[in-house]
């Protein structure tokens, strides 16, 4: 466990960003999002959550896959995927860090997605524990301890001191390279950290969504949930935009498209949203034609299909972004409450 005072954070960042890119929550045009760190950038470690999750550092919204060039009869294939170089992402919250593990389950399973793997290996995740969770947070419901985030290195900010503890071997190796900036934390610091964690846990207890119950959402209940009449009423307000899917840290669906650039064809991958009308358009058309079916598909996947395939791990980390940003305020919490077993609505 190391520590560094918050006033020296700027030197820490500049030394990290010497040989690799450093991303962290930065405010740009009134919006906090993960951006590359520069001296003049406005760092916002106090902001609870960025609007867009850091998943697009590993799974960008659009990336080139391959390109073709046609000259007369012959076609030449050109590898022009975007090269990824080593980088550090700092200030990741516990929920986002947990979402990386969920994405790993999808992309790193056989067959491994090489694009994602390249970025994942190059990336070092430095998490920062929350100190002031919002009322929209419900990460505890999914067993995520906000005060002890996962990731390669965990950090805590207590008063004006940043505590730095590497959790994984990759984290350990990285900390070695910048060890001289830190002092080692003594017993007093451990105590201060422990009491800070308890305060935060107390706040988490008091969060309104703390005791949201997930029982009833398991593979057995799949048919019963699928045919429930409640979907009709829950989805009547949904306008089918992609906001909830694009800001959600665990949504992992993408579409592959070709673009005719005039010189040749550029094949690229881009995020897709199950809420869109052309989401799974196939030869005969789209299997889910009405908004009710699409709405149901989203929450069934998060709460039932994914846990069924991944031994009980839900595909939601309770970060609360969709609760805050949905244009018509319809979100997963309302679905859980409406569809839950004890109907404690």
């Amino acid at each position: 466990m190391y520590k560094i005072s918050t006033d020296h954070l700027t030197e820490l960042f500049s030394s990290i960003s010497h040989d690799r890119a450093l991303y962290m929550p930065i405010e740009k045009n009134g919006q906090v999002q993960f951006d590359r760190w520069m001296e003049d950038k406005k760092v916002r470690l106090d902001a609870l959550n960025t609007v867009k999750s850091p998943k697009d550092l590993f799974f960008p919204q659009s990336e080139n896959i391959v390109a073709f060039k046609i000259k007369g009869k012959n076609i030449s294939i050109i590898e022009n995927r975007d090269e990824s170089e080593p980088f550090v992402v700092f200030g990741v919250r516990a929920c986002d860090a947990a979402s990386f593990d969920i994405l790993d389950m999808v992309f790193l399973q056989d067959p491994v997605d090489t694009y994602y793997k390249a970025r994942r290996d190059n990336g070092i995740v430095v998490t920062l524990a929350c100190s002031e969770p919002e009322e929209t947070c419900f990460c505890s419901v999914f067993g995520i301890d906000a005060t002890n985030p996962s990731g390669d290195i965990a950090t805590w900010i207590v008063d004006d001191m940043l505590y730095w503890e590497s959790l994984t071997e990759k984290g350990e190796r990285f900390t070695e390279t910048i060890k001289d900036l830190f002092e080692s934390a003594d017993f007093l610091d451990e105590e201060a950290l422990k009491s800070h964690k308890e305060d935060v846990e107390k706040i988490i207890e008091k969060l309104p969504l703390h005791d949201l119950s997930l029982d009833g959402f398991n593979s057995e209940a799949m048919d019963e949930k699928f045919n429930s009449p409640k979907w009709e009423e829950l989805s009547e307000a949904c306008i089918g935009c992609g906001t909830c899917t694009f800001i959600c840290p665990t949504c992992q669906c993408y579409d592959i498209r070709d673009y005719d650039t005039g010189q040749g064809i550029q094949r690229f991958r881009c995020w897709d949203s199950c809420m869109y009308s052309d989401f799974t358009r196939m030869a005969h058309g789209n299997p889910r034609t009405s908004q009710v079916e699409r709405f149901r598909q989203r929450f069934m996947h998060k709460l039932i299909y994914f846990p069924t395939n991944n031994d009980g791990v839900y595909s939601c980390v309770g970060c609360g972004r969709c609760v805050a940003k949905c244009p018509v305020s319809m979100n997963i919490v309302k679905v859980i409450k409406a569809m839950g077993v004890d109907e404690n609505v």
Partner: protein, 661 residues
């Protein structure tokens, strides 16, 4: 995938001079879809066209691109070639590499590169062409002639001769136009009335011809084969059916102050008048500004004295709406106003007159009953000076830049007639160049000089000033390199002519294009001189450009021939490049309906299968016969449901892509 043949034309040397044709053929042969590419000296010739036909058969081409001159020139030629080879005519695209490439770029390398790009663009567009078949629309078997001068009358007679109904709309109370005001006409010097009035009577008596005199066209809608025209019959205040044309009323009318337009204002007329004796229809008209009854409510002498009781003060304008298959514009001309030419002091001295005024003075029915008298004191003149090109060939902005073409001939005519009738009058003519071309014209002018001793002075009048009753004409005599001053009794100005003032807004109504001098623009100066680019509108007479009576009559008959050719068809093939709406995408929001200039879009509710269930939706429908294919609806349609066949969104996008590649 299309199988496209590309044919690059040399156009003799017009294209080949600055465009490397072989390079174009080679470059375009690699384009997607192109299976055959060749070049030829004259693609539009029979040899070229047979080469295309052969290639279509040999390679089974589904579309051809011809890189040649402007599509406005030979698009129809190559479409006919395609039809003759069994290919749909709308699978032909033209790349304009002559007017828009070889003729305007000097550097061979630039021109070739641009020709390649234009060829590639045409191929890109053709790849997305689909075979189109022209629709059919009915033809109304009736023609409209706007303007009742010699041009209008001649056209009307020829069309009536072919058995079709014709309406003549003339804005003045009688037909006859400017020619009726003339005395004698060149080159044969026979009197204008003698050759015109019989035609006027024929026009009046021909049962196929309806005369709408003292009427104007108010609104034109529709398109070739089916024009709807609103005609405003202005109130004559006389019931034409029962009026016998005795003319008693015109004598009795007390209001004498009005200037007689027919006599160019040289004499006065009553408030109720017949323009001239042989007027057709021979019915007077009341000039409401001058008539005391209309101004003050008193008088009404004409009503009292009219034997037939035909006067009807309460008569109102009447709006008539009729359908026509074709329209002939014969609006004629008028002399320009001379306010910018005060060096001739036309407005100060009454003895300085225009040629048209001289026509009236010499005319037996004119204000001086045919005797040549000075308007100021009615004494016979001793010396007369004619000044040519007043307001013509003038780039200084005061007059017209063009040569009015007829002045040299009618001045020679005036000079000859005066010398013949009054041999002792000295006649001088100041000229820049005497332009009397064609059959018997130069002989006519030389006769004026050699036989009648008219003194032609190569030079120009600088100033005309009046001094104690005489006109001092100061001009230059370039051959003598001298400045001469002639004491003249009368000065006649050969004034420039310009189109009738009704031309400008008539062109807007007909959507016919018009040039900056207000002459109607012909479809093609050499190949289609009597047609306007707007289908169904034909040009006859001076409305299209300055010309004399022989040419006007020739053009009038030509226009009539074109109209007869059109009316002879029962069905007209309508333009297939019209809008079409995709009912799956249509929101039914009526935005396209609001912008359609022809009202070709209507709305129906239809059963449509969408997202698995049947649904009744309000969708747009285009009436292909009325739509002219302008494309305004395609851009206001947000969902892209409305598209234009022949110029689809994808085609234009493909062209843009091909250009920017």
């Amino acid at each position: 995938m299309q199988k496209i043949g590309v044919f690059v034309c040399w156009c003799g040397s017009n294209i080949a001079a600055t465009v490397d044709v072989k390079a174009v053929v080679d470059a375009v042969s690699h384009e997607p879809g192109v299976v055959y590419a060749t070049d030829y000296q004259y693609m539009c010739s029979e040899g070229g066209q047979s080469q295309i036909r052969q290639a279509i058969k040999d390679f089974g081409l589904t579309g051809i691109v011809v890189c040649s001159c402007s599509p406005r020139m030979h698009e129809s030629t190559f479409r006919k070639t395609a039809i003759s080879a069994g290919l749909n005519p709308y699978m032909v695209e033209i790349a304009n590499i002559r007017e828009q490439c070889s003729w305007i770029h000097k550097d061979r390398e630039d021109a070739t590169e641009k020709a390649i790009i234009l060829a590639r663009t045409a191929v890109a567009k053709l790849n997305l062409n689909r075979p189109l078949t022209p629709g059919e629309s009915p033809v109304v078997k009736r023609a409209l002639v706007i303007g009742g001068g010699i041009a209008g009358i001649q056209s009307a007679l020829d069309i009536a001769e072919a058995g079709y109904e014709v309406d003549i709309v003339e804005k003045s109370p009688t037909i006859g136009g400017k020619m009726a005001q003339l005395d004698k006409t060149f080159p044969t010097l026979d009197c204008a009335a003698c050759i015109l009035t019989p035609k006027m009577v024929d026009a009046a008596s021909n049962e196929n011809i309806n005369l709408y005199t003292y009427s104007e066209v108010e609104d034109v809608s529709g398109f070739v084969g089916n024009f709807t025209v609103k005609i405003r019959k202005k109130a004559r205040s006389i019931n034409a059916d029962i009026c016998s044309g005795c003319g008693v009323c015109t004598e009795k009318c007390p209001s004498r102050k009005a200037k007689d337009e027919f006599n160019m204002g040289l004499s006065n007329r009553g408030a109720i008048y017949i323009p001239f004796a042989q007027a057709i229809p021979n019915v007077p008209v009341i000039d409401r500004e001058q008539c005391i009854k209309f101004k003050t409510g008193k008088c009404g002498l004409c009503e009292m004295n009219c034997p037939a009781g035909a006067i009807d003060f309460k008569q109102q304008d009447e709006l008539v709406e009729r359908q026509y298959g074709a329209i002939i514009v014969a609006t004629g001309f008028k002399p320009i106003s001379l306010e910018n030419f005060d060096e001739f002091s036309y407005s100060q001295c009454p003895d300085v007159i225009t040629s048209l005024e001289l026509e009236r003075i010499m005319n037996a029915a004119g204000p001086t009953k045919g005797k040549l008298l000075r308007p100021s004191d009615n004494t016979p003149p001793r010396t007369m000076v004619f000044v040519q090109c007043v307001g013509s060939r003038d780039t200084s902005g005061c007059g017209k830049t063009y040569c009015s073409k007829i002045c040299c001939m009618y001045t020679a005519k005036h000079a000859m007639l005066i010398k013949e009738k009054y041999p002792d009058i000295d006649v001088h003519v100041f000229y820049i160049d005497v332009r009397t071309p064609g059959k018997n014209f130069d002989e006519f002018y030389r006769r004026a000089v050699e036989e009648y001793g008219v003194n032609y002075i190569k030079g120009m009048v600088g100033k005309v000033a009046e001094r104690n009753g005489k006109l001092l004409v100061q001009g230059s005599d370039l051959l003598a390199d001298d400045q001469i001053i002639i004491e003249a009794d009368m000065v006649v100005l050969a004034t420039a002519i310009e189109p009738d003032e009704s031309a400008r807004n008539l062109a807007t109504m007909l959507t016919a294009s018009i040039d900056t001098n207000d002459f109607f623009t012909e479809a093609h100066p050499k190949l289609r001189p009597v047609e306007s680019p707007t289908a169904g509108v034909y040009l006859s007479g001076v409305c299209q450009g300055p010309k004399d009576i022989p040419e006007t009559v020739a053009q009038a008959s030509a226009a009539a021939a074109k109209v007869i050719g059109l009316l002879a068809k029962d069905k007209l093939r309508s333009n297939p490049c019209v809008a079409s709406s995709n009912e799956m995408l249509c929101n039914g929001c009526s935005t396209c309906e609001n912008v359609c200039p022809y009202g070709a879009i209507s709305y129906v509710s239809k059963e449509i299968r969408s997202a698995g269930k049947m649904e009744v939706r309000r969708v747009a429908e285009v009436n292909e016969a009325i739509c002219q294919g302008c494309g305004a609806c395609t851009v206001v349609c947000p969902s892209g449901a409305m598209d234009l066949k022949g110029f689809t969104n994808k085609q234009i996008m493909a062209e843009v892509d091909a250009i920017c590649r």
